[in-house]
């Protein structure tokens, strides 16, 4: 056998350990370290979702929708009411004036209209004693009215 062959390295002849070492007490401490890691993992695991947490987004969306509908309803109602009022005012004005052509109106007609309105108002509210209209020139009525108003009786007699 040649000297080179004799000195050649063979794995069969050199069965040895790997040469690696571990820190002292490493294997004894390892189970404790693994348990500590497991505890961390368990705590970090996400909790199982409850029905409430699952339903929360849908409930929030429903509540938002209802809120939006309510606000829209209020807004639309306000706009419609305003339009109704405006429309009512316009119709009343038109109705009052529609009986009389505007070009035919003069001072006498306006006075007459006013007198009619006053008479209607006093008829609808008899408890409110108003000043007698010039057309109802009734003396007794005048006296009664003045007495109610605490007019001085002597001045009243002189005037009459």
């Amino acid at each position: 056998m040649s000297p080179k062959k004799q000195n050649s390295f063979s794995l069969k002849d050199h069965k040895s350990d790997s040469g690696f070492k571990v820190p002292e007490g490493y294997f004894d401490a390892l189970p404790g370290q693994v348990q500590a890691r497991l505890l961390e993992e368990k705590q970090a695991e996400p909790k199982k979702p409850t029905i409430r947490s699952l339903m929360l987004p849908q409930l929030a969306a429903a509540a938002s929708f209802i809120g939006l509908m309510f606000i829209s309803y209020i807004g639309i109602k306000f706009v419609l009411d305003t339009q109704e009022i405006k429309k009512g005012i316009q119709q009343t004005e038109i109705a009052d004036l529609s009986d009389f052509p505007l070009e035919d109106l003069d001072e006498d007609m306006l006075y007459e209209l006013y007198s009619q309105t006053s008479a209607q108002e006093s008829a609808t509210a008899p408890e409110n004693k108003s000043f007698p209209s010039p057309e109802n020139n009734n003396t007794d009525e005048m006296i009664e009215y003045l007495l109610l108003e605490d007019a001085d009786i002597e001045i009243l007699m002189q005037e009459l």
Partner: protein, 182 residues
Amino acid sequence: MPKHSEKELVNLFKNGTNQDYVFNILVGEYKTRLYWHIRKILISHDDTDDVLQNTFIKAWKGLADFREDSNLFTWLYRIATNEALSFLRQKKRASFVPWAGVEKSLSETLVSDQFFDGDDIQTKLQKAILTLPEKQRIVFNMKYFDEMKYEEMEEILDTSVGALKASYHHAVKKIEKYMNKD
């Protein structure tokens, strides 16, 4: 501590009565063998410690679904191997010069690691092993240092016995060639 079989431990864990206690027994039973398996892949003690703990965490999470068609030991070995290889790939991606390979980096770690005190032959042997391709390196370590049967390796590495034998044979040739240099 009473001695339990693998099957008993798995069933006790699945029952869920005292999982922490059962798992502690499992860690105690397999910690040393798994540690040395990972250490020979990663070289650094600190990296090995991280990966070993991750292996046990994964085992905890998967043990409830563990199917008993394979044995617990090979299942744990498979998790450990996958975790170690994933760690190496992450290291490769994070490296500034990924094309240089992790082999050089592992060789440097070997020299600087305070928990490696091998003699000249052991150091040279480890450097020779680091020149092997990843899979071949694992096969060599499992056969040469752990003296594992090819059938067990087949289950762990999901490679046929024939391919494993060929891989080991090539690895031995390469290492002896490296060792006989100079």
